[in-house]
């Protein structure tokens, strides 16, 4: 087992050479591998000098959690333990991060909701931990199928939310996520989302840098809140009598605190812009009048539809949102210039992304926004379903 005392100025406890995020993400040579999302997450964590990881099983993230456990056994992760349940896990993650540890955990579906109180507490205490959310259904009758409805519950927790489309993005994003979350002026938790099974359990080609390099360790003394120690117990700031009362000063404090958390997420924009190469990625025809606004694997399906529509002589484009919090409003508006029809394909029943898009575009576009196609409960979304939606809109009554 690794010890923090094994760390030197140039190498971490497992002997990996310490490098900057730019070197790890952009400059180091890469080799092709063929891996599942869970395996790729293990590879990412291996290169992040992670101090602590807390696990609890729930499909589809169990395998990722167990693979991070293997990393601990191999000496790459400082400490690793299993929580009592998801609420316990997220509380323990908070404890690790407040004490100054670079901390990661994973969860899925109902586990996310069971732990819900903690996410707002995470952001309120400005810990820079990372949650890999491998999305799955949350409803009764219980399902393990991929469905990203739980993301809608996470939107107002005050955490940053990034969304990866495939295994390659999961690898790169989960490394960049630590770097951005730990910037002193950001320093709020980050939730890196992938669609469960579609990404966690499918094997794809992925380009990885060598595993003998890793990120520099987290520097807790650059935290905007002092890390806990014997003089600074956790939650000390919560106990001020003025803050706990219901009066004007309490109101002022809480309002300022909440605006500050959201301001911290806003400050992440330039860093995310750099490490993600833009907050939105656009593919397809630049002069298209039809656009798909997507995130996650819906982007992949929309790209399939875009190619098929091109064969029919219909130009379209796919605007993939890589961050949901902060929401890339300006980038989206720019990418939608000249577009007349906007479609928002989603893997959930409520259409949370459609709501986000409509809110961002209210009175800022004359394009017609269609919230669909939408599938739920883990059903796949074939390109034909997207094409059908488009044809019914632009060619009413005649179908695809």
């Amino acid at each position: 087992m690794s010890k923090i005392t094994d760390m030197t100025d140039t190498h971490n406890w497992s002997g990996q050479r310490l490098v900057t995020a730019d070197e790890l993400l952009f400059e180091a040579p890469r080799e092709k591998h063929f891996m599942t999302g869970s395996e790729v997450l293990k590879e990412a964590v291996k290169r992040c000098t992670v101090d602590a990881s807390v696990s609890y099983p729930i499909t589809p993230q169990s395998e990722a959690a167990h693979l991070i456990g293997e990393l601990w056994a191999e000496g790459y992760v400082g400490t690793y333990f299993r929580g009592e349940n998801e609420f316990g896990v997220m509380s323990e993650v908070a404890g690790c991060a407040m004490a100054g540890a670079r901390t990661i955990t994973t969860t899925s579906g109902p586990g996310t909701l069971r732990a819900m109180e903690n996410f707002a507490q995470w952001s309120g205490t400005r810990i820079p931990c990372q949650l890999i959310l491998m999305a799955r259904g949350i409803n009764s009758p219980l399902t393990i199928q991929p469905d990203n409805l739980e993301v809608s519950y996470m939107l107002e927790t005050g955490c940053q939310i990034w969304y990866a489309e495939n295994v390659q993005e999961l690898f790169d994003m989960s490394i960049a996520a630590f770097v951005v979350a730990e910037k002193p002026d950001v320093h709020v938790p980050i939730i890196t989302v992938v669609d469960g099974f579609f990404v966690s359990h499918t094997r794809e080609a992925v380009m990885l840098p060598a595993d003998d390099i890793a990120l520099f360790p987290y520097e807790p003394y650059k935290s905007p809140l002092p890390p806990i120690d014997s003089e600074t117990p956790p939650g000390r700031f919560l106990r001020d009598p003025f803050v706990m009362k219901s009066n004007y000063i309490s109101y002022a404090t809480h309002a300022s605190w909440q605006f500050e958390i959201r301001s911290a997420v806003e400050r992440s924009r330039p860093y995310a812009e750099h490490f993600l190469d833009g907050l939105v990625h656009t593919t397809g025809s630049e002069d298209a009048e039809i656009a798909f606004v997507t995130c996650g694997t819906a982007s992949h399906q929309a790209k399939e539809a875009e190619r098929e529509l091109m064969k029919l002589g219909i130009k379209s484009k796919v605007i993939k949102l890589r961050t949901i919090r902060p929401f890339p409003e300006e980038e989206l508006i720019t990418a939608l210039e000249g577009v007349k029809h906007i479609f928002v394909p989603e893997f959930n029943v409520v259409g949370w992304l459609e709501k986000e898009v409509k809110k961002a575009l209210y009175k800022k576009t004359e394009a017609d926004i269609v919230g669909g196609p939408r599938v739920a409960g883990g059903m796949s979304m074939p390109a034909e379903a997207i094409i059908k939606e488009v044809m019914e809109k632009i060619n009413p009554g005649k179908g695809a």
Partner: protein
């Protein structure tokens, strides 16, 4: 109510909501304008030397001698207060205060406006305060008072202050003190 800065009309202002974020490395922020560090230092010195009851609020990172840099900074801040003719009201730590804070002797991050009202402070420098507490306090001060706030930060700066200097270590504080002396002389003070 607040009468300065880009978030003038918001009861609980947050500069990021107006599109203002921390300055890039090597630069400073005056309200929403990104300027050279020296320009900001001159403006800060001028404001501190000309406003009523100018006060420096040193935080735990410069009040406690946990390393040599902190000790050096503390000495320079004391010198700064003499150059600027400024009072000093410390933010010792972030502990709850029972039964109430004493606004005469310290400023609390959760209700900084009390200290500013009580002492009729019209210009203030926050220095050595952990960033989150500085930002919470700065938002409230902007909202509740007409105090001109300055953040002198060792990290990325604070867009909620009217003037922000970032990456300020002892060498930068020495530079600030030198500039402040020049400005004081120019103003004939």
């Amino acid at each position: 109510m607040a009468n300065q800065g880009p978030a003038y009309y918001s009861p609980y202002p947050a500069a990021t909501y107006e599109g203002v974020i921390t300055p890039p490395e090597g630069k400073a922020l005056l309200l929403e304008e990104i300027v050279d560090e020296e320009i900001a230092m001159r403006e800060i010195a001028k404001v501190m030397l000309t406003k009523e009851n100018a006060t420096i609020f040193p935080g735990p990172q410069v009040l406690y001698g946990f390393n040599e840099e902190a000790k050096k900074k503390a000495t320079l801040i004391k010198e700064m207060s003499e150059i600027l003719n400024a009072n000093m009201i410390p933010m010792y730590d972030y502990r709850p205060k029972y039964p109430k804070i004493d606004a005469e002797v310290e400023i609390n991050p959760n209700h900084p406006n009390l200290t500013i009202w009580h002492n009729n402070i019209k210009a203030a420098i926050f220095i050595g305060v952990h960033c989150h507490y500085a930002n919470v306090a700065l938002k409230m001060v902007r909202s509740e008072t007409d105090c001109y706030t300055v953040a002198i930060c060792g990290l990325s700066g604070h867009e909620d202050a009217m003037a922000t200097l970032r990456d300020q270590h002892s060498s930068e504080l020495e530079k600030f003190n030198k500039i402040a002396r020049e400005v004081k002389k120019e103003l004939g003070l």
